[in-house]
Amino acid sequence: MLEQLPAVILLAPLFGALLISLFGLRERRACFPVAFASLLIALASAIGAGTRAFTGGAYDYFIGGWEEPLGIGIVLRVDSLNGLLLIAIAVVAVLALIFTIRPSSEKDEGKTAYFYILFLLLCVGLFGITITGDAFNLFVLIEVSALTSYGLVAIGSSRRCKMAAFHYLLMGTVGASFYLLGVGYLYLKTGSLNIQDINTILATNAVVSESPGVTTAFILILVGIWIKMAFFPLYGWLPNAYSYCPSGSACLLAPLMTKVSVYVMIRVMLSIFGLEWVFGHPGWSDLVVWLAVIAILAGSIMALAQREIKRMLCYLIVAEIGYMVGGAWLNDPNLWGLTGAFYHILADAMMTLCLFLTAGIFFKYRGISEIADLDGIFKKMPLTSIGFVIGALAMIGVPPTCGFFSKFYLIRGGIEGGQWEYVAALLISSLVNAVLFFRIFEIAYFGKKPAEGHDHEHNHEHEHEHEAPAQTVLPAREAPLSALIPLLAAAALILLVGIFNGQIVELIRVAFEIPSTVVSNLR
């Protein structure tokens, strides 16, 4: 039974979604338990499959039993990289699911069943993307996750979410199409779709690997994935899509969609083309790192200019994607950049989940969406505030949290790779995050009557513009348990991922085939 786990990870949420669509429309109360149970099964099997990869190394699961010759069937490959990511996805999905127990308004209640079906199918897509070993299958699963996420964005009742979803759909489809085209170019040059097989051919056959077709394939795939992950010049869809969609969807989409795309990029660089091929092209690494630097700076600056909490977080995501893409492309000799980038995927999933959960709680139970309306919220909702503070500190990069360690690895990679502009951008971005969040802390802790500082003048202006009746009417009341449990669990996970960074990094570096002695030097 143990060897069936890679398939079970996908099948559990799939069957959950089917069950809900068979019975959930009539019996709305049944939706949540079914979804929760199927995600718990998926989490358990992800842990099982991951543990097997951590202890015994990478292994393959041949769908349909088609093993020989390689590439005739579709293979699922679990190694310690995607083992970690599988567990992270399952954990985030379970926590985000708990947050959705209460529908935010009555109008959404009729859509409960559809929401859970889409939620589970999105998880199916993300799990599948993570473990598949076939380049074309990756496209199909990207489309599964993409179509469901369009639905999840558009399911809200806000007027603007439809337009945001439409733009998201256009960009997402173009991105996926570019990826598909890139796979086609690769297929034309290598005659294979299996990731391992393509990698072998590119590594051994110099005629193929140096041909313009393969270079074009790489560029197409990379651009396609960049569109999907909202990398800097192509980020336009993200802030609208994530800030106008309902809170429940945002808590699943924001932590996972872009991170999984970053993982796909790392997988393409590492497993399809191979790092030697990618970094064998002089100038590419510098170019992408410079793009990432611009992404980080632009994301941070635009985050400073936002008045709404969710939009600010969205621009922070743009900056974080800059961290990860830049880190993956640092090309430093010990691959600390790539390690940091992957570690940051896990860390950022937890941090984003934590912050979006807080934003969701503020919006859902207090009706607050603007930063300026947060005054005095720490006294009214102390437990929520603890979660928020931990998430914010992780975003800034304060030591016990995972945010600090990922920045540490990334900066180390930057220094070893000699990419000083990247190091500078990271530090500036941390500073900006500190300014951003301490501004919020000040408002939230001291309330409306601050001492001085131009930030507060700014806020005063808005307080006159936006009279917020919700916050004055509502009594001092903590958010319900269904929101607090995932939030505090996410906060705890931020600390745990931070504290156990050594073990996680060791697992990551096993997948990069770097001897663990290098790792032990660090600790």
């Binding site: 369009y150 439809k162 337009m163 439409f166 256009l170 779709l193």
Partner: protein
């Protein structure tokens, strides 16, 4: 010019057309103002990709990838078949420009099935995306009473300023 056409374009004619179609689709996807026109551009963009894939699998002189059309070939491919004595299928007629071993390989009689399989998937994915996009178009029309992007952006901006 003629030489360029004969040497560069003609051997890859399908691929040139796919690039042109794709660019037509991409251009209208970005530049058109009407959301439904944008979707048509996207649909054409996707068919261009399908054209590219299908062109990969074409072999000169090959038939469709259904073995029944080469009945005796199917018998031959079956190792334990009773009619193993039947003569092997005649190779498909090949143009003289093809390398010699092509004629000796019976597999060259059938088009490559893999791109076809992949593209069946891609077509269905395309129509699924189209359906979702058109549903979104209807909802956008219901909310804003227009499908022209510039008007939509103006109305959304007005909404933002009111808030």
């Amino acid at each position: 010019m003629v030489e360029f056409f004969l040497n560069t374009v003609k051997p890859h004619f399908n691929f040139w057309v796919y690039v042109i179609l794709m660019m037509v689709g991409l251009w209208s996807l970005i530049a058109k103002n009407n959301l439904i026109k944008k979707m048509m551009g996207l649909a054409i963009f996707q068919t261009a990709i399908i054209l590219f894939y299908v062109s990969l699998g074409v072999k000169d002189g090959a038939t469709i990838p259904v073995l029944e059309h080469y009945g005796d070939y199917a018998e031959k491919a079956e190792p334990a078949g009773p009619d193993a004595s039947k003569p092997a299928s005649k190779p498909a007629p090949n143009p003289a420009s093809m390398p010699a071993p092509a004629a000796s390989n019976p597999a060259d009689a059938f088009a490559n099935p893999v791109p076809h399989v992949l593209m069946l998937t891609a077509i269905v994915v395309g129509v699924a995306t189209l359906g979702v996009a058109l549903a979104l178009c209807e909802m956008i029309f219901k909310e804003f009473d227009t499908l022209e992007e510039d008007e939509l952006l103006r109305k959304i901006k007005a909404l933002h300023d009111d808030a």
